[in-house]
């Protein structure tokens, strides 16, 4: 097989894997939008905050230590212990649930029935507030995140492809792990949504707030639930991205990678977020590989949006989004 075909196949496979990582971020957006009609601008910062909290708890860091030291003249930074990864993950989930309750109690409860643009702006405020709180709470330094996620080239795939084609494909173990996590996560979300009482309530709220309220579903409870699930998804995304590059404030920018996925897959579809992620991942990687070298490279950021825009022109609701029909 010609080298260029093999290279393109390798790029395509890696594009699929990268697409899964984008989907993980996009899922959080979809969950909140589906249940509340809110486009959550803070989703990227939530991933950052969840990852910061996880590392902070694992390392036994004292939250708000700089603030405490500045006020009381103390010099404390660490508790002096390390928390096992699993316990730290459970504690971080609890923090994200608390965050969901606070968001509902102090922001969105006061904005019920407001225009979508008002709710969107509230999430912009929330994003910057949360970034500031994350900074105050855990500091701005880069943190190494090690929760045992495998990294590096997968030897088996390399040796099989080398045996078959004379060229060993590179696939990152972290990407394979992320794919498994994404599959499990989507399966859990689908099962939760289809087969549990809370899931059905969540779908009812997503369909019609007023009708759901009229049959006794608590809107407040459902919103806390959905923000908690989005917080959990943010933790998964933040952990995987943080394991790649260390936990630092640029992590919040992964949201930019999710936007074209949402435009393409639709804001209301979980399978859309996955398929959209895969199309964007493969599309941008192949474009960079085939066309990038001719036009100076660094095409991925903008090409993902061009691709999404093309889909948007022909299918405004996205590939899997629900078509909005308003009867007069």
């Amino acid at each position: 097989m010609p080298d260029q075909v093999l290279f393109a196949a390798e790029v395509m496979l890696n594009g699929l894997m990268a697409g899964v990582l984008y989907s993980l971020v996009a899922l959080g957006f979809v969950l909140i939008f589906k249940a509340s009609g809110i486009f959550n601008y803070a989703q990227g910062v939530m991933a950052l905050f969840a990852a910061l909290t996880l590392v902070g708890i694992m390392d036994g860091q004292v939250p708000f230590s700089h603030l405490i030291n500045a006020i009381f003249g103390t010099n404390i930074h660490h508790f002096g212990w390390h928390t096992p990864a699993l316990l730290a993950i459970i504690l971080t989930i609890m923090v994200m649930v608390l965050f969901a309750w606070l968001v509902q109690r102090f922001i969105f409860r006061h904005l019920v029935n407001q225009e979508p643009i008002i709710l969107f702006m509230a999430t912009i405020g929330l994003a910057y507030f949360l970034e500031g709180v994350g900074d105050l709470m855990w500091g701005s330094d880069i943190k190494k995140l090690d929760v045992g996620i495998p990294k590096g080239m997968n030897e088996t795939i390399e040796s099989i492809t080398h045996g078959a084609f004379g060229y060993g494909f590179f696939i990152d173990n972290l990407d394979i792990f992320a794919t498994f996590v994404a599959v499990i996560l989507v399966a859990i979300l689908v099962c939760f949504s289809q087969y549990t009482k809370q899931g059905r309530a969540l779908r009812a709220v997503a369909d019609d707030h007023q009708a759901a309220l009229s049959v006794g579903i608590s809107l407040s409870y459902i919103w806390i639930l959905v923000w908690s699930i989005a917080g959990f998804v943010a933790l998964v995304a933040g952990t995987i991205w943080g394991a790649k590059s260390g936990v630092q404030f640029s992590l919040s920018l992964i949201a930019l990678k999710a936007l074209p996925v949402l435009m393409l897959g639709g804001f209301t579809s979980i399978p859309g977020a996955i398929i959209g992620g895969l199309i964007i991942g493969v599309g941008e990687k192949l474009f960079e590989f085939l066309v990038g070298p001719w036009i100076g490279g660094a095409t991925e950021n903008w090409f993902a949006y061009v691709l999404a825009l093309l889909f948007l022109v022909f299918r405004p609701q996205g590939l899997f989004g629900e078509k909005i029909i308003e009867r007069v």
């Binding site: 890696n14 594009g15 930074h77 701005s140 880069i142 590096g152 080239m153 630092q248 490279g297 991925e300």
Partner: protein, 429 residues
């Protein structure tokens, strides 16, 4: 009437309180402690601030005049950087340290008109080395083109002096900063017969799979990196993933700090970076830094960055500012110097071994002098290597001089273009 007088005095008092105290030496620091690049901005800003605080606390300022440090947050955003400059230029600011090539490019025409001074230490517009055109801009002790040349010289040394047929790839941040060394590397490729290829990474550089697959497929002999922030950490991790030999991966001095290598763990072992100065706390200065700044609770940050590469760079930047002010004070015969006098001081700067030793930094960085013709200093650099087990950078070469036969014509051409564009008649005095 009484009320009016009272109000006027309150307003005047408030205005005076926000302005600089009389006879203070105002040193602005355009820093970024927030945003995507805060991880690198914080240690640099801490080092810069702490050195100036040490001068105030231990020596009572410079030449008996206290330093007024004005830190302004830019978030590594060019527009915010320009806003910081505009808000600080009227405060009697002596030297601006923009800590961003993008901001530096925007400030150069303004500084030329406003008569303010810019010191872009190891970054910014490379041709600012030509002081006959860039009268108020200094980029000593080395610039990006020096960096590119030093890296190629090191590679030549590794390859027994012959680069014919070798492939060198530049992985660069797709910005003004990242693109700076391209022209120099193209010229060096012509001179030494190696094959040059550039691969761009878009801001912020969180996802680099395509770039590293290209590198894996093209199999260059060496990869140079001009990265910043998360781009560095991801690149080093990806290089380890594709098993690129780390001792053939060399970063510019902005891609060679602990922040860049620690997240990749053992995979980063052997990665190389250029260095303008030493790092670590094995210098006499740190005893005073601990006593007068950290222990006194006056450190700019948590005090946990002391001795790191970027902290050392911020401190070195502040040291050079202080030495320029001392030189200006000597030349002017007064302590309370202004920006024009400090410009003369920067141009007459002479850093000797004795100067470094007297500051408690013996052997920290090479001696050099500045002149009207040369605002860029000697263009010397070293190569350091990361030891993942010891978690530290170690210098592995002595000082390497850049290839001025290649660089000088590029500087002359670029500065002449700026002079023509800005209507500047080049000259000294």
């Amino acid at each position: 009437m009484k009320l009016k007088l009272k109000l006027t005095s309150i307003v005047l008092g408030a205005v005076m309180a926000t302005g600089p105290a009389l006879a203070d030496l105002v040193l602005p620091m355009l820093s970024y402690r927030t945003g995507a690049y805060a991880v690198n901005g914080i240690p640099f800003a801490d080092g810069y601030n702490d050195y100036l605080t040490l001068m105030n606390e231990r020596d009572g300022g410079v030449g008996g005049v206290k330093i007024d440090i004005r830190e302004c947050e830019t978030g590594y955003n060019t527009e915010k950087g320009v806003e910081c400059y505009e808000s600080l230029k009227g405060t009697g600011a002596l030297i601006f340290a923009p800590l961003s090539t993008g901001i530096t490019y925007q400030l150069i025409p303004k500084a030329t008109v406003d008569g303010t001074n810019i010191h872009s230490m190891g970054y910014g517009r490379t041709s600012a080395k030509n002081g006959k055109v860039f009268r108020n801009v200094f980029n000593y002790p080395a610039n990006y083109w020096d960096g590119a040349s030093i890296a190629v010289k090191h590679i030549m040394d590794q390859e027994g002096g012959d680069l014919k047929g070798k492939k060198i790839t530049l992985l660069y941040h797709n910005s003004g900063y990242g693109k700076e060394p391209i022209r120099t590397l193209q010229e060096l490729a012509k001179k030494h017969g190696f094959e040059y290829k550039g691969i761009a990474v878009d801001h912020p550089g969180q996802e680099q799979k395509s770039q590293w697959l290209q590198i894996r497929q093209q199999r260059p002999d060496y990869v140079l990196m001009w990265g910043w922030g998360v781009m560095n950490q991801v690149a080093i991790q990806e290089a380890a993933n594709v098993r690129f030999p780390m001792d053939k991966f060399i970063g510019i001095w902005w891609s060679a700090s602990e922040n860049d290598t620690v997240p990749a763990g053992a995979g980063a072992h052997g990665y190389k970076g250029l260095a303008l100065h030493g790092s670590g706390t094995d210098y006499p200065l740190y005893a005073d830094m601990q006593k007068y700044v950290v222990d006194a609770g006056l450190a700019a940050g948590a005090g946990d960055q002391v001795g790191t590469v970027l902290y050392s760079r911020g401190m070195y930047n502040a040291f050079l500012s202080v030495e320029a002010i001392k030189t200006a004070q000597k030349l002017a015969g007064v302590g309370d110097v202004n920006a024009a006098q400090v410009r003369d001081g920067m141009e007459a700067l002479n850093i000797t071994e004795e100067t470094m030793a007297a500051a408690g930094l013996p052997g920290f960085a090479p001696p050099f002098s500045v002149s009207c013709e040369n605002h860029g200093g000697p263009g010397l650099g070293m190569v350091s290597q990361w030891d993942a087990e010891a978690q530290k950078w170690s210098l592995i070469t002595g000082l390497i001089a850049s290839d001025m036969d290649v660089i000088q014509p590029l500087i002359d051409a670029d500065s002449a273009a700026f002079a023509a564009e800005a209507g500047i008649t080049p000259g000294c005095g």
